[in-house]
């Protein structure tokens, strides 16, 4: 496998990075990078880590990084997690620079501990922390419950001062969305499976409206909606398909949510290199983040409306003969 870290890969321009991932020869991983600058979303790092964890450390080669920002990879814990040597020692900072280094979460207790620790690390005020805790908890629990990933979830986050944004990546190398959704719905393609997974009330555990005692099919819809109401990016990639929620028009007074993710402003594709597992990237802008409570009003309204519509679709019709 080969993965190239470009000079810039954030959710808005991540597509070329995804398309360049070479998944051939899965016993080896070669990491290459732009010579001048590496500026990447945490989800990119999570993907590199997820690929690297499938390969023996001695089979990972990282070319001599020349970019000035190469220390970022070390600070985010990439070399430590993959158990490979960085090319030169870099002064380690305390992890208080408003970032969450790459972390592997394999069970529920680790997740609870992680959520307790991330808010002080990101230096967030409590009222700004609700959305972050919510997003991380729901996404990682999805991985732990559905992905069957031996590595668990790989998580990372970073605060960007210029945009006043927290960017979060959560990646697994499990079975992917299509296999999970296919337990209950016959999605033929990876993109169809992603569409279903983002639709309110649809879970891979049952076709029953309201879900099971444990799953309602709300998690991904809520997270996509949190990004959407805040006019930020949300990206999900699984199998050969990628769906990206694009930023809403800033001139619109109110963002309108839909139950069907394809009705939102988005881009999508089904011709990406096969990713076995699921990749989720989400941005949360702190300055314009609506209060979490206000978000819930809008999300709840659309969720219930969509459930009602789905229920109505299943009504038996009278047979007039």
């Amino acid at each position: 496998m080969e993965i190239y870290l470009p000079n810039s890969a954030f959710l808005g321009n991540i597509d070329p990075f995804l398309k360049k991932i070479d998944r051939s020869n899965q016993a080896k991983l070669k990491i290459t990078a732009n010579k001048k600058w590496i500026s990447i979303h945490p989800v990119v790092l999570c993907m590199v880590a997820a690929l690297g964890l499938k390969v023996k450390p001695e089979n990972i080669s990282c070319e001599k990084l020349e970019a000035k920002s190469k220390h970022y990879l070390q600070r985010m814990g990439l070399f430590t997690l993959l158990k490979i040597k960085a090319e030169r020692s870099i002064i380690e900072h305390e992890p208080a620079g408003r970032f969450i280094p790459l972390t592997r979460i394999t069970n529920s207790l680790e997740l609870t501990k992680f959520i307790t620790e991330i808010i002080p690390l990101l230096h967030l005020e409590p009222e700004r922390a609700d959305s972050i805790k919510y997003v991380v908890s729901e996404l990682v629990r999805n991985v732990l419950e559905h992905s069957k990933s031996e590595q668990g979830a790989i998580v990372s986050a970073q605060y960007y001062k210029k945009s006043n944004t927290i960017r979060i990546g959560i990646v697994d190398s499990g079975v992917g969305i299509k296999e999970t959704i296919n337990n209950a719905y016959p999605a033929k393609t990876h993109l169809e499976a992603i569409r279903l997974a983002l639709t309110p009330g649809i879970t891979g555990t049952t076709q029953r409206i309201g879900g099971t005692e444990y799953n309602a099919g709300a998690g991904l819809f809520f997270i996509k909606s949190i990004a959407q109401i805040n006019r930020e990016f949300f990206m999900i990639y699984s199998g050969k398909a990628m769906y990206k929620l694009l930023k809403s028009n800033p001139h619109l007074k109110r963002v309108i949510l839909h139950g069907d993710p394809f009705q939102e402003r988005h881009s999508k594709g089904e011709d990406y290199p096969y990713w076995s597992g699921t990749v989720v990237g989400v941005d949360i802008a702190l300055g314009k983040t609506k209060e979490f409570s206000a978000l819930l009003d809008i999300i709840g309204e659309v969720y219930i409306k969509t459930i009602k519509e789905r229920k109505k679709e299943r009504y038996r019709k009278p047979k007039f003969i």
Binding site: K133, Y134, G201, G210, E213, A218, S293, Y303
Partner: protein
């Protein structure tokens, strides 16, 4: 009447669905079987996920019907927690 202080079990962010299921199976359902009233006290709980609340009460509504809610009270919920509980109870009654 039984009183359950959620923060003692989950901490200030209620997100662990395994704990929610334990509360439901070991405390809420036995109390309902005995026709006892239940108070779920969310004092000190700053936030909760929809998944947690779903794992806590959805199966109660499914098994005992919405009438079970006559026996359950949610105390000291802040606004976001109150809204998440309302969303879950609403969609369970729609389903």
């Amino acid at each position: 009447m039984i009183k359950i202080k959620i923060i003692d079990i989950t901490g200030s962010f209620a997100e662990n669905k395994d704990l929610a299921r334990d509360i439901r199976l070991n405390k809420i359902i036995p109390a309902l079987e005995k026709k006892e009233e239940i108070i779920l006290n969310f004092v000190g709980v700053e936030g909760a996920t929809q998944s947690f609340i779903h794992a806590l009460i959805s199966d109660v509504i499914r098994k005992y019907g919405p009438e079970a809610l006559d026996k359950i009270s949610f105390k000291n919920c802040n606004e976001p927690v109150r809204k998440i509980i309302t969303i879950v109870i609403d969609y369970m009654q729609e389903g």
